[in-house]
């Protein structure tokens, strides 16, 4: 049986490390938007909001991108070690047209010249403004150190650099844009401006008239006008950091943690607001080819959404999303485990992250919807508001028919009051039914379903759900009179542990709950049948495949037959020093994703429950953070936010074949002496390959159909 992995989406929406632009470029005519994802360029036709084509290539270390001025159907992608020219317009076998090496690490590209020359900035703290001629001759234009932030104007003429001495260095590059080789470096117009406001600056923008805006951590934005007196002005609205600034005509756009896009009219200080965006505004940019659109990079729990707004009416024109699993971006991304579930009815992926649930359509490769599990403040949070914790979804499961969704969220008590209870957590178990095409409707909410003990596992069972808590206590929830209620419980009352998991046999007769290193078998009346100590270390997850119990512990993978009570030969070591390991099963196979710490890769393996020799094994290029059964195969999500489907064509073929073999009843009907109308009632009329052997012996095609009908009848 041949198994293979196919990566199904383009990875995460990129965030350029230094450049103030978002990872999206407009085509020359402004009709297409090229979104740059970590492994894909997605071309959107803006007026229909549809992705018209994709180009797959590894762009994870891309620092900037420009449209090729010599050929607008090419996109030039600047990576840390090479420059690629990618044809996005035509369907080419190899879309990467040409590429060259990088002599110096590029941070921001100021201008790409038609002849191949390049004006760019390298470095982050000690920066160089450099011109590279088409022949590759490097000439330094400007050098400085101690840089905090820098930005260029939309027409590329000005570069504003903020340094640690609280100075803004303004460089005019206008002459270099016209004829770089002829320009003399010594003629560079450099102006050093100082400003008064003392709060640390975190963002900077400069417009085509060399007006500079500085965003502070405290919120106020300082404008330094380009006149003789270096007039200043302070714009106050933000109470959190003004994370990003961008000039557009005579407007200044700013955004930050408040999730509000603020549009300032510089002349008269009038403001306009677009509140309640999906995420924290990390970047705002405007493209030269489509100056009437604002492009925003919204940070939703560490992952980005690209939002395109019309500057005229502030209506969303397009939004580009990747799957957003719950990865702890700032902590240790390598050890993050995400929750991914596939709705068994629609096959859409559901990814909870924080208090949000994202539903993603893998076929269209687009986000279906994005909803919260509880009413959270839709505005962004700043300062002490950050202490108000939103509930975080820790469990999400679907009933086997896909008609119900069960989520568990954890609410940290808010610590504003400094009460004794401030460290308490509340748990909310919620049952949802599909409301409309987009979203689910809450039917029942149960606060603290297991009192103060955390629920660690939820599983669909019969037509309800079972929850298991840290003490291995079980509750069975069922729909009663239009709301969900607990109908059966079993209190094992073990000491609280983080390693608790549930597995349920296909016929629902056995519920297995694991606690530390012991598994407890429970019958459908919620009576403990038998505890079993099968592994020596904490159990990470358990699964049931037919009669085999698969246990993944900290150190081992074992398969135990529950009928014979013997171990199967699938018993192997999973070294402690390796990264996290994930286990899942469908009704035939066991899938294991084993992160390898040394190489930052992941070994993905498929096993039969009673065989140590894997059916399939491969090394995936990055860490995997979850694996689930999907269709007849499996699906995993990696740290680049790609989803990979492990599938086989053979599986389906095989079942077809067995059906044919199984029903190969010889159609001896024709020769019997029974009246013809009785034969028609013969419900067992099926054929094998030999039935149609004779019909091909004639070369008269006209009668072929009649002959087939004769046999079939």
């Amino acid at each position: 049986m041949e198994w293979s992995i196919s990566m199904t989406n383009g990875g995460k929406v990129l965030d350029f490390p230094v450049s103030t632009g978002v990872a999206g470029i407009y085509s020359e005519d402004g009709r297409y938007f090229l979104a740059i994802l970590s492994h894909q360029i997605r071309v959107y036709f803006i007026s229909t909001r549809q992705c018209t084509r994709t180009v797959d290539l590894d762009l994870s270390d891309c620092v900037d991108a420009k449209l090729d001025p010599s050929n607008s159907s090419n996109l030039i992608v600047y990576k840390t070690n090479e420059i690629l020219k990618v044809n996005w317009k035509e369907r080419l076998v190899n879309p990467v047209v040409s590429f060259g090496p990088v002599t110096e690490a590029i941070s921001v590209v100021i201008n790409q010249f038609e002849d191949g020359g390049l004006l760019f900035v390298s470095g982050e703290k000690n920066i160089n403004v450099t011109y590279r001629s088409p022949e590759g001759v490097i000439s330094r234009i400007y050098e400085t150190s101690g840089v905090i932030k820098y930005a260029k104007s939309l027409n590329n003429e000005y570069l504003a650099i903020l340094n640690e001495n609280k100075e803004v260095i303004s460089i005019s590059l206008a002459r270099f844009l016209v004829d770089p080789p002829a320009s003399d470096v010594n003629d560079l117009e450099v102006a050093i401006k100082t400003f008064n406001y003392k709060s640390p600056i975190i963002s900077i923008a400069v417009n085509n008239d060399n007006i500079i805006a500085l965003g502070s951590v405290a919120g106020p934005i300082q404008i330094i006008f380009n006149d003789d007196n270096d007039n200043e002005k302070i714009l106050r609205w933000h109470i959190g950091p003004a994370k990003t600034l961008h000039f557009h005509e005579n407007f200044l756009l700013s955004g930050g943690d408040e999730k509000v896009l603020v549009i300032w009219q510089i002349d008269n200080d009038k403001t306009q607001f677009l509140p309640r965006l999906n995420g924290v505004i990390d970047k705002i940019s405007v493209d030269v080819n489509k100056p009437d659109n604002y492009n925003l990079a919204l940070n939703i729990n560490g992952q980005y959404e690209l939002l395109v707004l019309s500057a005229v009416d502030l209506v969303s024109r397009l939004s580009v999303n990747s799957i957003r699993p719950n990865l702890k971006r700032k902590l240790n991304i390598k050890n993050s485990t995400s929750i991914v579930e596939a709705n068994p009815k629609t096959n859409h992926l559901y990814l909870p992250s924080g208090s949000f649930i994202q539903a993603f359509d893998l076929v269209k490769n687009e986000q279906l919807f994005h909803q919260t599990v509880s009413s959270v403040v839709p505005t962004g949070k700043v300062k002490s508001e950050l202490k108000l914790m939103d509930p975080a979804v820790s469990q999400l499961k679907f009933s086997s028919d896909g008609e119900w969704m069960c989520t568990l969220d954890i609410v940290n008590n808010n610590e504003i009051e400094n009460l004794l209870s401030q460290d308490d957590k509340n748990y909310a178990l919620k049952f949802w039914k599909p409301a409309s095409a987009s979203g689910w409707e809450l039917v029942t909410k149960i606060i603290d379903p297991h009192l103060k003990v955390q629920v660690l596992s939820v599983m669909p069972y019969q037509n309800g759900f079972i929850t298991a808590d840290a003490s291995a206590n079980l509750r069975f929830w069922k729909l009663r009179n239009k709301s969900w209620a607990v109908v059966k419980t079993l209190d094992l009352m073990k000491p609280e542990s983080k390693s608790v998991d549930l597995a349920i046999s296909e016929d629902n007769s056995v519920i297995v709950v694991s606690h530390d290193n012991v598994v407890y078998m429970v019958n459908s009346n919620f009576k403990l049948v038998q505890p079993l100590s099968l592994v020596e270390s904490h159990i990470r997850s358990i699964e049931l495949v037919g009669t085999d119990l698969i246990i993944l512990s900290k150190t081992k993978l074992v398969s135990f037959n529950l009928v014979t009570f013997e171990f199967n030969s699938l018993m192997a070591q999973v070294a402690v020093a390796q990264g996290k390991t994930y286990l899942c099963t469908n009704n035939q196979l066991v899938a294991l994703a084993l992160n390898i710490q040394d190489s930052e890769r992941c070994k993905v393996m498929l096993f039969k429950p009673n065989d140590l020799h894997p059916v399939f094994a491969t090394i995936h290029s990055t860490y995997v953070n979850s694996i689930i059964p999907y269709n007849d195969g499996f699906l995993f999500v990696d740290n680049e936010l790609r989803s990979g489907i492990i599938s086989t064509n053979q599986l389906r073929l095989k079942s077809d074949e067995s059906e044919i073999n199984g029903t190969s009843i010889t159609a001896a009907a024709a020769n019997s002496s029974v009246p013809a109308d009785e034969i028609e009632n013969f419900s067992f009329k099926t054929f094998d390959l030999n039935s149609f052997n004779n019909i091909f012996e004639t070369d008269n095609l006209d009668t072929l159909f009649d002959k087939i009908i004769k046999i079939v009848k």
Partner: protein, 594 residues
């Protein structure tokens, strides 16, 4: 127990020259609630018995002493019986309670009868006749060229004919007159249930479940379950079969390959399963069934028809847990491969085998090497090591092997073989994979060796220690550290379970006065927790010694004084806080509804 009880229905009259299966025909019962059973006894009579309250004859119709009953089917109170009388063959039609009978002569032996709207008869030559039940006229003949028809059934408008030609069985499916042939099998038994054929091959001892298209759904090898033949088979419910060999009757679930129950036959008797009541067996209400079998005592020439009540269990994993046919040979101890490697070989762990041989030769060397093997690191000699989760992951059978070297187990009593290898035992007792079959009586054994260190290790760490053992040692031990360890360990068990055990022990005449004294002296949370529960036990206070009660009173008084003092302090502190705290909340907020 799945075989509930059995009792004889009747003792059959002695007749000679007939094989066991020709002596009596029991008409299949359609449901468990039926109280009547119809029996046709060759050379004797056709009779109807009531089964409850005790088997009793209600009606009988005599047949000639030369008539051998071949087959019978009963619909309501009408009987259709196939009879061979020397060289003549006839179909006999009877009505219950009536002396009248009707019969037609047929050219061949009647192999089987199915009595439905029409009477379907399969003859010994393979012909199938459709007969009108009232007039006994043959409406239709479906001829069949193979001889010696063996059985037939009517399955959902399909007629299955199994013919026997020189020891080979071949199958035909007849549906609306269309005959479909299937491959032939030798030497098989078969039964039908719910559109499936269960086919048992006597020589290979395998049983197959076959659907009506003759697709084999599964094949189960019963060779290590079954003794020698003769075999007989009945299928009371889907996937569950009762199969008998010459010594036992086995109730087997074929889907899970498990043995649900067995029924031992009497010695020196021949047995044969006749039929069983077919039940759905998919819920607890539909698992009770009855099975009829013959028991022949050749010495006494006594043939009994017995009834056996049995429960076939639900066809779920739960009913089959730990009931699989276990292969006889022990599995090899395996060396675990690391999944990160590219090698997936099933390797025998030779290190364990070497250690096992070393055990007999040099005990102290064995201890060091075994600990080194299990800890997977260098170890100091004569040093106690406990299990921790960083230790080498091993095949659970390796631990079991080591433990079995140290202990021997006979009739549930553990003994230590020879000298106590205390270092390795100290380690093994703490291992999470310590085999559960060596836990019963372990604490008592360790207590008797006088090695407190091992006892405490076992109390603290050994998984699966029975609560009765803990309670027993708690009552006997006068060592306060052991008592304390047990109290800590008892937290792993449910309070009800512990109390229940104390109740049992007290009813067995154990005295807990010493224990209570110990508990009071221990004076910690765990001891009071148990003490409280012990006092709650009915009638215990009255059996306490006055000395113990006095101590208890002293203690309670002391604790009450403490509580009073604490509450006073708390009040003072509270008042102080109330005076000091005049803060108001900085601001309040209301979440906006989205």
């Amino acid at each position: 127990m799945s075989f509930v009880d059995f009792y004889p229905i009747l003792t059959l009259p002695r007749v000679s020259d007939l094989p066991l299966h020709s002596r009596v025909i029991v008409s299949p019962l359609s449901s468990i609630t039926e109280t009547n059973i119809n029996i046709a006894i060759s050379k004797s009579n056709i009779s109807s018995y009531i089964l409850y309250p005790s088997p009793r004859l209600v009606w009988s119709y005599p047949i000639s002493p030369s008539s051998v009953v071949e087959c019978m089917d009963v619909k309501d109170d009408s009987y259709m019986i196939g009879i061979t009388d020397r060289k003549t063959f006839k179909l006999l039609s009877l009505n219950k309670g009536s002396e009248e009978s009707n019969s037609i002569k047929l050219k061949h032996r009647i192999a089987n009868i199915k009595f439905e709207e029409f009477v379907w008869v399969v003859l010994g030559n393979g012909d199938v006749l459709k007969i009108d039940p009232a007039s006994l006229e043959v409406i239709e003949t479906i001829s069949n060229d193979e001889q010696g028809t063996h059985v037939f059934s009517n399955l959902d408008k399909h007629i299955l004919v199994v013919t026997k030609v020189s020891d080979q069985l071949s199958y035909k499916l007849i549906h609306n007159g269309v005959v479909t042939h299937y491959e032939a099998y030798t030497d098989s038994l078969f039964e039908f249930n719910d559109k499936h054929i269960y086919r048992f091959n006597k020589s290979t001892k395998t049983i197959e479940k076959v659907d009506l298209t003759f697709k084999v759904q599964y094949s189960v090898d019963l060779s290590h379950l079954l003794a020698e033949g003769p075999f007989s088979l009945s299928v009371p419910s889907e996937d569950r079969v009762v199969i008998s060999d010459n010594i036992k009757m086995h109730l087997v679930n074929l889907k899970y390959e498990s043995k649900l129950a067995e029924f031992q036959f009497d010695d020196n008797c021949d047995h044969e399963i006749l039929t069983s009541i077919k039940v759905k067996g998919n819920s607890l209400n539909t698992t009770d069934t009855r099975l009829f079998y013959l028991k022949l005592n050749s010495k006494k020439n006594k043939l009994n028809l017995n009834l056996l009540n049995l429960n076939i269990e639900v066809n779920t994993l739960l009913a089959n847990l730990n009931k699989g046919f276990k292969p006889n040979e022990n599995r090899e101890i395996l060396q675990l491969t690391n999944l990160i490697d590219e090698v997936y070989e099933i390797k025998k762990d030779t290190a364990v085998h070497k250690l096992v041989t070393l055990y007999g030769k040099d005990l102290s060397k064995f201890e060091i090497q075994a600990i080194r093997y299990l800890k997977d690191q260098e170890v100091k000699p004569s040093h106690y090591y406990s299990f921790d989760s960083e230790d080498k992951p091993v095949d659970p059978q390796a631990i079991e092997k080591f433990v079995s070297l140290i202990f021997s187990k006979e009739n549930d009593t553990l003994t230590i073989k020879g000298k106590v290898p205390k270092f390795i035992l100290y380690y093994l007792l703490s291992h999470k994979l310590y085999p559960s079959q060596y836990t019963k009586g372990l604490l008592r054994l360790l207590l008797s060796t006088g090695n407190l260190r091992l006892l405490k290790q076992s109390i603290t760490f050994t998984p699966g220690i029975d609560v009765s053992d803990l309670v027993e040692v708690l009552i006997y031990s006068d060592n306060s550290t052991v008592t304390n360890d047990i109290l800590v360990r008892l937290n792993d068990y449910k309070v009800e379970e512990v109390i229940e055990m104390f109740k049992t022990k007290l009813s067995e005449g154990e005295n807990v006065n010493g224990l209570i004294k110990n508990l009071i002296e221990l004076n910690n949370f765990n001891s009071f927790k148990l003490l409280k529960n012990l006092i709650d036990l009915n009638g215990l206070v009255s059996s306490m010694r006055t000395e113990v009660i006095r101590k208890l009173t002293e203690l309670v008084n002391y604790k009450i004084r403490l509580v009073e003092l604490n509450s006073l302090n708390l009040n003072l502190v509270n008042n102080r806080i109330k005076l000091a705290d005049t803060r108001v909340p900085k601001y309040s907020f209301e979440p906006l509804e989205s």
